[in-house]
């Protein structure tokens, strides 16, 4: 039987749409369409998110308190911007650390296998 360390919300790996949204918002607040374009850029054109997927993820992130609506004076309701909360920044840092550790371990194994 496989034993897996218990996952808490803080240690559970993030889904790719969530990771891309948090990474995009780490730079500055963005509204929906700007998020779609930036995520496409971040993923090298691989991920083009539909509005259904995007707003499903935004709803969950708002409910979890990882992002918040960002009021701008010149923002119409159709162009609502979002930004990271401190909890969202922490989640992104945890995930990036996890990925960095995994990447380092993966390359170390590759180097070891090439050396044999």
């Amino acid at each position: 039987m496989r034993h897996v360390a218990q996952e808490t919300p803080e240690t559970k790996p993030l889904s790719e749409p969530v990771l891309l949204i948090l990474t995009s918002l780490a730079e500055h607040p963005r509204h929906g369409y700007a998020l779609i374009k930036d995520m496409e850029l971040l993923s090298g054109g691989r991920v083009r998110m539909s509005t259904g997927t995007l707003f499903g993820a935004l709803r969950r992130l708002l409910e979890d308190g990882w992002i918040e609506r960002f009021e701008q004076e010149d923002t119409a309701r159709q162009k609502q911007a979002y930004r990271l909360t401190s909890a969202g920044i922490r989640q992104l840092q945890i995930e990036l650390e996890r990925m960095k550790q995994l990447t380092r371990a993966g390359f170390a194994r590759l180097r070891a296998s090439e050396a044999i």
Partner: protein, 138 residues
């Protein structure tokens, strides 16, 4: 295309629509404008992806665990039964519509959409009737 998009938005729970529908339409229109300029093949792929995304997103929104409810107002236990039943009819109708579209039963979905409109109108009339403090979120 915009009409189809707005029709499919009806599949979402009311709470999601109240919060995001206008924004979603706005983003969809921006993306559509870009798609039209990119050529018809891109636009067809984009349209299909958007429609599939809406059906999947609506299903996920209905299945998602609800956030912790806030404490109900003191008078909520006195909500009239007919108002509660009218709300339940609207919710049941929307759930049946999601199911019909997921199973490609578009004629049935259209009929359910008409029923939902009638149920929603009935709910609005009842809300007006009990508008002396019985306001109920839906």
């Amino acid at each position: 295309m915009r009409r189809t998009y707005k029709f499919l938005l009806l599949l979402y729970p009311r709470g999601h629509r109240d919060r995001f529908a206008e924004e979603m339409i706005g983003v969809f229109e921006e993306a559509s404008a870009e798609g039209r300029a990119a050529g018809w093949a891109w636009y067809v792929r984009f349209s299909f992806s958007e429609m599939a995304g809406l059906v999947a997103g609506a299903t996920e929104a209905w299945l998602a665990p609800k956030p912790m409810p806030q404490a109900p107002p003191a008078h909520s236990s006195y909500l009239p039964q007919e108002l509660l039943q009218a709300q339940q009819r609207v919710d049941a109708n929307v759930a049946a519509m999601v199911h019909a579209i997921a199973n490609h039963q578009f004629e049935r979905a259209r009929a359910l959409s008409n029923q939902e409109r009638e149920a929603r109108e009935n709910l609005r009339i009842l809300r007006d009737k009990y508008s002396d403090g019985y306001g109920m979120p839906c």
